[in-house]
Symmetry: none
Subunit: 388 residues, 2 copies
């Protein structure tokens, strides 16, 4: 159970309690009394603030330093695109160019989503293929969109086709690091895309150009099922988290829009899978807004729905975040997120509640998030003894 | 001071306290009041349950993932065999074969130890050498025994000469992984042993065959004394722990059968060594039986004897387990074991007692057991500053 961005900070003079500490959580408290182990997890490494990609890959047991997923890929997943290993994805922005091709506004005056969708439709209709590669274009919010290149022998990462400031032309995307034939082919493909696409929007104002960033391919990731001998399902509302789950081969159970509905779906699907990843976005969202009361309320809403989840008495239950999103920071942070582990073998740390401060005193200590799955598997008695 | 399998779980509705928490330990409590550092140790890695071999190698400062000791070697050590680096050891079972060589009972009707000893004596008398390799056979309990091959150029691991089920013939032991000339020689030696030995017991009922498992050589392990500049002695009662100590070159101080006698022996030998590994088996034994009261009593017995150990005021004293053996599990587990460190420089964590819950809050945190020796050496001021 992932409460996105759950971890927070108590800050003298601002909030003396964290949202988790301040929230009324009677159902969570009951679970803690039944016996749970607590601890804190370092999402990537000490001092490193993760994005949602590394945050979740770590929770799924994949070393986020070994399995790196590009920003373009994450953005594409966030728009609900179904990526295949080897697909090259880029985050894109419409921008404004002057007569000499100089970027005069990197966000094209922040055009409306509707305008962006119109422009993307236009480009998508005119450019379906380039050479042997398929081109997929999908509009996002405001001036943002995503370009996906699907074909044989493509590879990222490339440098950004973005000067990262106004007053300069759009640089060519170039292979980063070793210049493989695949990376060169991909760089040429991006250049060809610019050549083909720019004329179609040359007369549009203010969005007569575009920038591409985070150009990378989706890496081959060993499947969760093979890695852990568990049949996993994802019950998430937001596309990015479904996408991340799909990256490791989880089945997406679509439909539920509320946490109660997600938990009901879990009950309904209980016999068909033996691992469920349930994602709850609002703790992070309100943390990003710096809205302490709303984050606290999101935790209380989670607590109110929790009895539905517990109806099936899961053998092993972990409740945690993918990282911290402290309200005072209005952003993801590096602070280890609290984690609660409940099973017949989790033992009890004899703490009253599940909180950041309590988790500091828990038996799990501070550990790397990538080990959580292994601990859960141990609690499910999935392992033989190591050595005699 | 190793209280084998010391760590345990508090479990709602069963034992709300762990044996260590429930035990009356006035002498340990006094030591804690004098000032100790506490923490918990991960024996191998998060979620991994160790056997006694990896558990102890970690305590001796050897990475248990780097120095792996085969099951055959551990079994041989448990029977008190003195192994040399390169010796190949196998766990053996007498079994019953039908006329066609099919295994009909993998445990030969669980023959009495006396019968096993007779059969082992017979085989040991008839087969002393095969080619240039010495063969050593030693009976264990019931149908179990150990076969040791000592010669030049031998190497494991080999696959088991055991179908692991009834109704199949005994498969040939084959090299695992890279097929080195040494491993091939060892596989041939095992095959030759079968050829030589089976005829001698062909008429015996029901033990007219045998299975070999965990066939591996004893790895070359750098000596404790060279590694740490400490002259180590082992005061243990059970052969396996003496054997593990001997693997790293500790001197075995034989004789004592009770903890009080072990501590007295420590006092007597105090001037002859500067590191003592004292092993106490009963915490683990009662944990394996799921006998909470007996495990608690074993801890109280330890506590009662403790003042003898403390008479010499050791410069650095660590009290811990090699892993947890929770009563509810009746088995070793992955849960980090509590550790107490006492020295003039250990500081005080200001806790009242040495318990799992207290250790969660200790200054040592949760760390890998292989670092304990280094911490002890630091407390003994054995190290220079690193860098300027």
């Amino acid at each position: 159970m992932v409460l996105d961005g759950l971890g927070d900070l108590a800050t003298k003079g601002q909030n003396e309690l964290t949202p988790l500490e301040a929230a009324r959580t009677p159902n969570l408290d009951l679970l803690v009394l039944e016996g749970v182990a607590q601890g804190r997890m370092t999402p990537v490494a000490p001092g490193i603030t993760p994005g949602s990609g590394p945050g979740h890959l770590a929770l799924f047991g994949y070393d986020p330093l070994e399995f790196q997923v590009g920003r373009g890929v994450i953005e594409a997943l966030g728009l609900g695109l179904h990526l295949k290993a080897g697909d090259v994805a880029a985050r894109a922005n419409f921008c404004t160019l002057d007569g000499k091709g100089i970027v005069t506004d990197r966000r094209a005056g922040r055009i409306e989503t509707a305008v962006c969708e119109e422009l993307c439709d236009l480009l998508a209709k005119r450019i379906k293929k380039l050479g042997d590669a398929e081109v997929i274009i999908k509009a996002g919010k405001g001036h943002r969109f995503v370009v996906l290149f699907r074909g044989k022998g493509l590879e990222g990462p490339l440098t950004d086709a973005d000067p990262h400031r106004e007053g300069a032309p759009i640089p060519k995307a170039q292979p980063i690091g070793r210049k493989s034939a695949k990376a060169k082919k991909t760089a040429k493909l991006v250049a060809d895309f610019y050549k083909a696409a720019l004329p179609f929007i040359a007369k549009k104002k203010p969005a007569n150009g575009f920038l591409l960033r985070g150009i990378a391919h989706q890496p081959e990731i060993p499947s969760f099922e093979e890695r852990y001998r568990l049949k996993p399902a994802c019950i998430a509302v937001y596309p990015m988290y479904k996408g991340l789950a799909q990256l490791v081969g989880m089945t997406k159970l679509e439909g539920p829009q509320t946490l109660a509905a997600q938990f009901e779906r879990y009950l309904a699907e209980y016999d068909h899978y033996n691992f469920f990843f349930i994602h709850y976005k609002y703790t992070d969202m309100h943390g990003e807004d710096g809205n302490f009361e709303a984050k606290k309320k999101a935790i209380e809403d989670f607590d109110a729905a929790l009895p539905i989840l517990l109806r099936k008495k899961p053998d092993v239950l972990a409740i945690t975040g993918d990282h911290s999103t402290p309200c005072v920071m209005k952003a993801h942070s590096w602070h280890p997120q609290p984690v609660l582990l409940h099973s017949a073998l989790s033992g009890s740390d004899k703490l009253d509640r599940f909180t950041e401060t309590g988790a500091n005193m828990g038996s799990l200590g501070v550990f790397e998030a990538k080990y959580l799955i292994r601990l859960m598997q141990a609690n499910a008695k999935m392992f033989d003894k190591f050595g005699a």
